[in-house]
Symmetry: D2
Subunit: 340 residues, 4 copies
Amino acid sequence: MSVLRVGVAGAGRAGALHARNLALVPGAELACLIDADPDGAAQLAHECGGVPVFATLADAAASGLDAIVIGAPTFAHHELAVGAAQAGLHVFCEKPMALTVAECDEMISAHEAAATVLQLGFVRRFRTEFTEAARRIAAGDIGEPMVVKSLTRGPGLPPAWAHELERSNGMLAEVNSHDFDCVAWLAGSPIERVYAETANFKGADRGVEAKDFYDNAVVSLRLASGAIGTIDGTCPADYGYDARAEVLGSEGLLVIGEVAGMSLLEARDRETGTVRPISRTWPERFGEAYREELAEFVAAIGERRAPAVGGAEGRAAVAAVRAANRSWLEGRPVAVAEES
Amino acid sequence: MSVLRVGVAGAGRAGALHARNLALVPGAELACLIDADPDGAAQLAHECGGVPVFATLADAAASGLDAIVIGAPTFAHHELAVGAAQAGLHVFCEKPMALTVAECDEMISAHEAAATVLQLGFVRRFRTEFTEAARRIAAGDIGEPMVVKSLTRGPGLPPAWAHELERSNGMLAEVNSHDFDCVAWLAGSPIERVYAETANFKGADRGVEAKDFYDNAVVSLRLASGAIGTIDGTCPADYGYDARAEVLGSEGLLVIGEVAGMSLLEARDRETGTVRPISRTWPERFGEAYREELAEFVAAIGERRAPAVGGAEGRAAVAAVRAANRSWLEGRPVAVAEES
Amino acid sequence: MSVLRVGVAGAGRAGALHARNLALVPGAELACLIDADPDGAAQLAHECGGVPVFATLADAAASGLDAIVIGAPTFAHHELAVGAAQAGLHVFCEKPMALTVAECDEMISAHEAAATVLQLGFVRRFRTEFTEAARRIAAGDIGEPMVVKSLTRGPGLPPAWAHELERSNGMLAEVNSHDFDCVAWLAGSPIERVYAETANFKGADRGVEAKDFYDNAVVSLRLASGAIGTIDGTCPADYGYDARAEVLGSEGLLVIGEVAGMSLLEARDRETGTVRPISRTWPERFGEAYREELAEFVAAIGERRAPAVGGAEGRAAVAAVRAANRSWLEGRPVAVAEES
Amino acid sequence: MSVLRVGVAGAGRAGALHARNLALVPGAELACLIDADPDGAAQLAHECGGVPVFATLADAAASGLDAIVIGAPTFAHHELAVGAAQAGLHVFCEKPMALTVAECDEMISAHEAAATVLQLGFVRRFRTEFTEAARRIAAGDIGEPMVVKSLTRGPGLPPAWAHELERSNGMLAEVNSHDFDCVAWLAGSPIERVYAETANFKGADRGVEAKDFYDNAVVSLRLASGAIGTIDGTCPADYGYDARAEVLGSEGLLVIGEVAGMSLLEARDRETGTVRPISRTWPERFGEAYREELAEFVAAIGERRAPAVGGAEGRAAVAAVRAANRSWLEGRPVAVAEES
């Protein structure tokens, strides 16, 4: 198999992570960066062996590409993904998939028409404690899922465009998309109804003036299977990056992840107690899984098959996130179907 | 100080626990049992040194008592607590306090009028990891509470009367009263609005035919302080008794409790992995705290002061539980004030 | 059964703990304190309800006693325990049992002659994770013990008399007696040969000038069963009180205890990580077990039977400790029989 | 930099792991396998892209190589490593380095003469919880190391040649080489004196007839710095692969690793309790570190510098292991200098 030439669109944190990881994935190589601000991407390009930087997808495609990884802001996903499909390029798209369900539908159609791979960046599906939990649930080890809970908290404010609900769908999209996907994946059933409460505790202190900004949310869930659940999110949460889930089935419980990270315990004084490191960032929390998902992308392309997680899953998460936003704005439970 | 003579009303699981614990609490002694079914209480009475069993509170009071512990079913709390006040007896009342807020109000008034102690059995307020968390929150260690979560799951069906919503307020009352109290206590703010989803996964299999029975619930919360949160409950949950809470403040996180119980790890084969015991029951999970709360009761009586947790807290939990039940029945968020 | 009148000999930390705990043990009451420095014991006596303080065992016995708890320094154990037996008093004796095996033998003989109970304060035998481990090993859950490890570390220098090897047998006696007992108990086999290495890291800084003082030790063990093991001790270890054990059997592993104490996790900043409290002192680590061992003492007396742990176990630990001290002094493995 | 052509000598478990990992290490590629039994290596060669298999190092070198990874049995290390140096090839050598200190000296000399890299496969030096611990110790976070402990246990009997002490130095070499290296590395001081006890619990049942076979060992240690410590090993230990260490310094404790592996907790019935997966094998326990150590090898070659861990460390571990074997055979503490 020849080596796939992959461009990375967006030279921010997610794009940079994927660009670096491509060097560790057999069968693929980083061919170029694509960024509307080529100067801003120059440092990353240099670090990655001096790959070229293009300002547009069209220019990049013209240089000879097989696929792109989309790490750009959410509002740019739709145009990039559809354009790539039209250029015959496979797409690995970071979450959230897009701003609206209609955008998602167009992205899915474009890739179906082009017979190209469209994979979504739901990285937890490649992280060992999550995949092993999913395997056990599918095998019936804990019976029928009754209650499914998932949370994500991360340090640092999201980028400014993500403060605006209109341009980003807010924290539930930027941070909790993973949870909406996880719940449906682990429970084996789509989310049908959501009710959300939100709070804004730190926005003012940190200079966020965007209308409808929130930095905390809890969401109640009802699934098609009859299972119920919760999602909660907080960002910024200065204590670190925290991603945990819990599935209670009719015959058992699975608790996925823990707050502490590295298995190293320190004790220096008895007033403090024992101390263990925490994952400071999402790359630290999910490191290897970011390589695994790219390896899956390469494999799906090579085997001309659907990837492990694709457009349908990305669309479902966008619909559920939008329903949750509507819920707290309107103060009522909202059926996900209202957004689908 | 002379030794308090205490009667225990209700010879079921909770009553038996308190009756036995009275022997371990300096300053108090078990004087009698009170049970509408004296024969059923005979074994416990024998085990507790041959104390007498009375069929009514009046008979017990006539034998010479200072206080009673109410471990009877919820629907009997109001009559016992009011009767005790009228007889000048201090009352330690198991949760939930009563079936309605009106009942709670009458219980509170009766004890205020009699100047007797009315303590509620919110045992988590006496359990070390909960009290230390509360102390730290009050000290400002984690800043302002933003998200507060609490869950309880227990093995075994509740008694038959507790299957009926009308006679018990259901699982949210019987099992999750502790969580409603904990959230408000830890956050330092009352619950203002609730939204609940429920599910019934095991009722039919286990022969429960009661209308409106549910064995799983998740509740979204909004507190007066602006904090948000969740409560979830499952009963029966065959894997053991599980009570955990989590408070995320503006400056830090506290995670209270863990699934595993005793600090003993076993590993026998590498396919299974490592195994740690779990608390099988609530007495195992909170053992010492059940003695601590009785010691507080004795101390409050001796010092003629209000107990650490009393009627106001019991009433608040009843109101929030009833609002949560109304929420899922009516499919909408419900202000706790609607029930207060 | 009438209430046992118990005197506590030694008003230091251990004595004070036992004196306070007697109030929580049904069937016993603190009758007096016995201390060569009655003024020093006055505060404790006052706190414990104003019990009298006697300067000698003889005076105390004359006041009417059933039993004594020996919490005095090790070098005083022999005289107190033998004297108590001669006065017909049951004895609960803190570890280490005595300074020499010969002393232990005389204590055992005196109580055999008097038909009085002689219980040793090996408190781990009453702590739930240790007793459950012992139960499982005895039940064959992990097969035949192959490797047994036990450690104890504690904050704070021991009292000055315990710095001198001659008067105390040193840290291996004062701190690690528990481990020597635990290993033999858990493995179900006596220790036959020991080899010790010691180190003195903090003595000079903390003003200890005693010859042969050490504040760290590791001991290799060979048991009669063929099992091998290690014991290690450090005191002072400023990070808290730490007591853990590990038994590897032919069919499985048991890990007993953990460094972290209370099940409360705090995370405030991502550079630090997650923090859990630690047991600051031995009463914190083993709290309830100190009451359980007194309850066993009361029960053994009432039932006229041998206690769960007695003179033979105390003697075995003294012999093994002395063999370990000889080992590092002479730089060779030492058979425990050389000290027995 | 051109891509390094690397041959892997020995197609057993360790060799296969390294051969597969070479595909994930930028800057290197698997060029061939070297195995005295080329047919036995054919399957692995096929799986690794059809690389050639050579029966001798000379044949492999003639095909054009830059470096070799030695995964062959210990008794073959010396000849391979010296031959490679003479052929101008860099060497990554699995532990234990060789059978004798004399062999180690010749390997070191040969690579010094050839100015080639000689790296040892002490994989723990590349595993995050170990490296972070080492970093903290070096930074003085826990003061001066006083007690250092390290253990390794693994499932399954070692290969037959490793049952014989003469051909392998036994379990202390095959399994615990890592611990001997870790202790010296973490403490920042060489091991000076050892005392070992061993036991053979399963050999007979599993058909091992080799003289001097042992499957359990505990070793007491004294280091040049004055620190003391222990190492223990058990193989086979059917419960999984277990590698943990503990360093107690004058100002704090570090506990490295834990028995449980993946952060996934399952609870299904309250009699069993909570269950967490364990690392079944050493590749599972140290997975990513096996790639990291190869990346370091590539980097050291590229930068013409000494690797992070080399011949001196390998030699020190061989000397300490041999001293430990002599200790239990002769029943006395042995200075490592006796073997150096």
